[in-house]
Amino acid sequence: MPTDEELAGALIAARAGDERGFAVLWRALNPAVLRYLRVVAGDAAEDAASETWLQAARDLDRFSGGPDAFRAWLFRIARHRGIDERRRAGRRREEPAAAVDDGSQSRDAATEMIEGVEIDWALERIAALPGDQAEAVMLRVVAGLDVAGTARVLGKRRGAVRIATMRGLRRLADDPQVRDRAAGTERPGAADSSVRDRAAGTLRPSAAEEV
């Protein structure tokens, strides 16, 4: 994960149309955007993510602020594009689902399946929550927004965001599948915590917690 300074530099470069700036931003934030959109837009997540970034690229001069503000801004776009794409996807549901991979599947495919399977499962459980809870959890936990940022993205009061987050987390903790999963995949603590640390460094920014 790039530092805040690197991200700030990337923002300036991207605004000027520099490809490397976009590369840094996209690499740092697209995984979280994509995961959030998989909850919001389901199968249309990839399309919605593309639309999100294109719109962000077009409108970047309208944004001013640092990396944290950019994150909130980006997720606000993502939310709109996600809702948009979901609606569109609903309308063309009769059509066959997106094409299967173009045959370039090779040794990577197996690796990807393994590394993605827990994420898929977890996103599925979160997506099963009531909509406002699912979004609040995703924006807080995965997007790394603080309560205020989440409230702005969702257009809700902070109190409502906190309650939705709490209810969502409670419901997840009570989810039988969630309880069973942990029991079934018990691993050595060391491996677990190293994954967690990397995760924290990758997707979770220094979320400034309001009190």
Binding site: F22, L123, M166, A199, L203
Partner: protein, 251 residues
């Protein structure tokens, strides 16, 4: 998860002590997968191109693609039931007209009390079946919420720009209304707002009155307020409303 304080802590990365929940949150925070970052160079190049195109468009004061695409939506927004006509001829109620001018001045929506009622050019209009009736200027006819299927035209066909260029006043003077100058930023705002309106037209459970209020007040719906009001954020208290809830209207 005893309370929202603890929930805040866990959401921000703390451990909950619940093995199942912690496992799930770890999974969802896991580092990027190969699939999630594949194609970085291609994407970055495409974004840079998009960015430069937007910049070039603005420099030449040409209409950025998004704006062109937005025209159809703008017509839709103002459009159904002849509101577009009313707006361009200055026949909307004051507040609405002011707002319409602020948002759509680029396309010949005059400011409030504009002296010259413009003879309306018969531009192509997606919702042509609804004839521009005078009544439309004061009542948001229920038809306003119909707007069958705009997004298809928006996403693809370049023909979707029913350019209102026939408008005789290409540069409506901003002198009357104390609104932000109809600069590039105004065009941007239009694109942004109309994109949202496309969402709405595409099935968002929102009635005609809501839509008109939205245009008139540039807000009420929280995110629209944020987007449409542009950089100077409106007071957050005005945006307190939650999601539009239309019980039983879900598809």
């Amino acid at each position: 998860m005893r309370g929202s304080d603890e929930a805040d802590r866990v959401a921000a990365g703390g451990r909950s002590g619940d093995p199942g929940l912690d496992h799930l949150l770890d999974a969802v925070r896991a580092p990027a997968t190969t699939a999630e970052t594949r194609g970085e160079r291609g994407v970055a190049a495409a974004l840079a191109v998009e960015r430069r195109r937007a910049m070039a468009g603005r420099r030449r004061a040409a209409r950025p693609r998004a704006v062109i695409v937005g025209v159809a939506a703008a017509v839709l927004v103002l459009g159904a039931g002849g509101a577009a006509v009313a707006a361009r001829t200055g026949n909307l109620p004051g507040g609405v007209q002011r707002q319409a001018h602020r948002l759509f001045s680029g396309w010949g929506v005059p400011p409030v009390e504009a002296p010259t009622p413009v003879p309306v050019a018969s531009g192509p209009r997606p919702t042509a079946s609804v004839s521009p009736s005078p009544a439309a200027s004061e009542s948001p006819s229920p038809a306003a919420s119909v707007s069958p299927s705009p997004p298809a035209s928006v996403s693809s066909s370049p023909a979707a720009s029913p350019s209102p260029s026939p408008s005789p006043s290409p540069s409506p003077s901003p002198s009357v209304a104390a609104s932000p100058s109809p600069s590039v930023a105004a065009a941007d705002r239009v694109a942004w707002c109309t994109a949202w309106k496309v969402d709405a037209a595409g099935g968002h459970p929102m009635n005609g009155r809501d839509r008109r209020d939205l245009i008139a007040a540039a807000g009420g719906k929280e995110n629209v307020t944020d987007y449409c009001a542009g950089v100077p954020e409106p007071s957050p208290s005005a945006t307190a409303k939650t999601k539009p809830s239309h019980p039983g209207k879900d598809k």
